[in-house]
């Protein structure tokens, strides 16, 4: 009899979701499905609005990474205007995105994932949370908040408190950086550096000790990786070209332009999830699975280009790189956590360079033009990965069609694969009909999803909370066993 184990919902991520583990007739784990169960309506909502409003509208999709949509929308708008934005505007947008990456990664590492690392997978879930972390290491908890605050404050210094008011617009940005803001950033940088130094040191100690097994079984499998790189092949987050690299280090495709995304990416749909399943078109579905996000960005690039970040990248590769790739490619999804810390280092170094760049303070920050194209694709690197915005407008500039390819969707196949690998490692196989699944194992399955730090706000709305539920279902839907936890 085919049975299904359902974990519903996944905690510590946005929106509503559940995980189901599918068993075959012999009770062996056969498949894992990460379900997103609410309709994604933003694309439809955008239709009929002027493209100039898209930055403000799409920034409302997500409360955690509004800047990512803001920038992707503005860049798509640049193309509809067919303008090149002023150099200062490009640098200001870069500063905004670096701050966004910093604050989002800080939240993921210090407040969502650290409780698992520091308190242990077997820890009572009532204590394995941010309060448990505060009890264990209040200074770390406070430093994490300060680091996130640093990134958030830069966003506010640039865009004002109401960041959703679309500071980045087609053609550039609305305002420049003030001299006072520049001073504030430079004054706070040393503290941010100290915090990430401490976090890296702590994380490496854990990698050498209690996290060794997780590194091996939390989604360690070959896949493609996709991300932006500069035209010189370096780490990139806003401009540049798309590169796809295989797990053995081979560059599968390079110099790709986002305009042509439909030629190399396709999106599958499954009846059990509203989240789409993008894949690399030449390899087909699901063989064309690829990963995006911090780990993918570090895998596709040749280097970062700043000394501290390059040293940390070299250490990440030396620790976790696969033999097949000559140590260049890291295939364990668990390494997303380490990659986030390396990216924060890269961001801090890049922020310092930008803030000391005289061109950043130039007052000319916007190129103005009318509508010159009716279709455009924009891309940016969001904290969770590559984000595509594709708009088609009419002669009046009103949106006729929108397609958003979000990072969490692009990691969809890899998240399922990660969950299946973890389940096979930690849940007895075959699963006996009356077998109980201990809570720490459930948490590991969820933690596999959390490696990707998914954000489902693009597709869901958390109108209320549901308890975590585990169900063992027969093929006819009969509940064979059930387990709930808060």
């Amino acid at each position: 009899m085919t049975r299904t184990i359902v974990i519903d919902p996944v905690t510590r991520i946005e929106g509503h979701a559940k995980i189901s583990l599918h068993l075959d007739a012999e009770g062996r784990l056969q498949d894992a499905r990460f379900h997103v169960v609410e309709y994604r309506g933003f694309e439809k909502f955008c239709e009929g609005h002027p493209f100039t409003e898209m930055a403000g509208i799409t920034a409302r999709i997500c409360g955690i990474c509004p800047v990512s949509h803001l920038l992707a929308a503005a860049r798509t708008g640049d193309k509809l205007l067919a303008v090149q934005i002023p150099p200062a505007a490009d640098k200001l947008r870069r500063l905004l995105n670096l701050a966004q990456l910093t604050q989002s990664h800080a939240l993921s590492f210090f407040h969502l994932s650290s409780p698992d690392f520091l308190l242990g997978w077997e820890c009572d879930p009532a204590r394995r949370n941010v309060f448990g972390l505060m009890a264990a290491d209040p200074d770390l908890a406070r430093a994490g908040i300060r680091l996130r605050q640093f990134g958030q404050q830069i966003l506010e210094l640039l865009g004002g408190r109401k960041i959703h008011a679309a500071w980045a617009v087609p053609g550039g940005v609305r305002t420049s950086l003030s001299a006072e803001a520049k001073v504030w950033i430079l004054e706070r940088l040393p503290e941010a550096r100290a915090t990430i130094t401490q976090a890296l040191s702590l994380y490496k100690r854990l990698l050498d000790g209690p996290l060794q097994r997780e590194q091996r079984v939390f989604g360690d499998f070959p896949s493609l990786f996709l991300g932006l790189v500069s035209r010189e092949g370096r780490w990139e987050h806003l401009d540049g070209v798309l590169r796809i690299r295989a797990a053995d280090g081979t560059i599968v495709a390079d110099g790709l332009c986002e305009d042509d995304y439909a030629s190399f990416l396709a999106e599958a749909v499954e009846p059990w999830s509203y989240l789409k399943f993008p894949y690399y078109r030449p390899l087909g579905y699901p063989e064309g699975m690829y990963r995006v996000g911090p780990l993918a960005r570090l895998n596709v690039c040749d280097g970062i280009g700043t000394p501290w970040a390059d040293a940390e990248l070299a250490e990440l590769r030396a620790r976790s790189g696969t033999t097949d790739s000559g140590g260049h490619i890291v295939t364990s999804s668990f390494a997303y956590h380490h990659a986030r810390l390396v990216e924060i280092v890269a961001c801090l170094e890049a922020i310092e360079l930008l803030v000391n760049d005289a061109e950043l303070m130039d007052r000319h920050t916007r190129s103005r033009a009318g509508l010159n194209r009716l279709e455009a694709v924009g891309v940016s690197e969001a904290p969770r990965g590559t984000l595509f915005h594709h708009y088609r407008v009419n002669e009046q500039g009103l949106i006729e069609r929108v397609n958003l390819i979000i990072a969490t969707g692009q990691n969809n196949l890899a998240m399922n694969r990660t969950v299946l690998q973890i389940a096979r490692e930690f849940i007895a196989d075959p699963v006996a009909p009356d077998q109980e699944i201990p809570e720490p194992l459930l948490n590991r399955v969820e933690a596999g999803i959390r490696c990707f730090d998914p954000c489902l706000s693009c597709s869901t709305h958390a109108a209320g909370q549901m308890p975590l539920r585990l169900q063992l279902l027969a093929v006819d839907g009969t509940v064979l066993a059930e387990r709930s936890r808060p």
Partner: protein, 177 residues
Amino acid sequence: MSPLLVIGIGNPLRGDDGVGPRLAAEAEALAPRPRRGREPDLAVRAVQQLTPELAPEVAEARAVLFIDAWLAPPTIHVPPVGPRLVSLGLGDPVPLGDGSPAMLSDLSHHLDPVTLLRLADLLYSGRPRAHELLVPAEDFPHRRRFSRGLRQRLPQARDLLSQWIADLSPGSTPCTS
């Protein structure tokens, strides 16, 4: 004196969910004007969700009001109610580890108000008086407009907001709800 802090929670593009940011924006106009050269006595935040870096700001406030849309649980029969101003304590509504929904959300990307208050207390030793203005909501589609029911409740919600500000402003009787 540390300021009052009003935090409106919600997404203005999701129907009734936007009531928190709407009322937070109106709060500035309801506050007494500061004397010349003085800082405003009221700080306002409109956020899509609560996040940890708000904790220091909450800790520094003398009183905090969270404004949020409230959707009655579908499994519970709740007779029609209007907007409510409820006090928030640090321990009583959601003791640690009791399995309450708020416990869940303290590890999500978003926090609930009580968890944020606890962060403010434990990390920054700030214990502001705290209230929550809950506005019954019914519809969360992708649109800017509120449902008819919520529009009918808005005046009462505004009155409660005004009352909260007035009660906690200098020279007034403290809020007792």
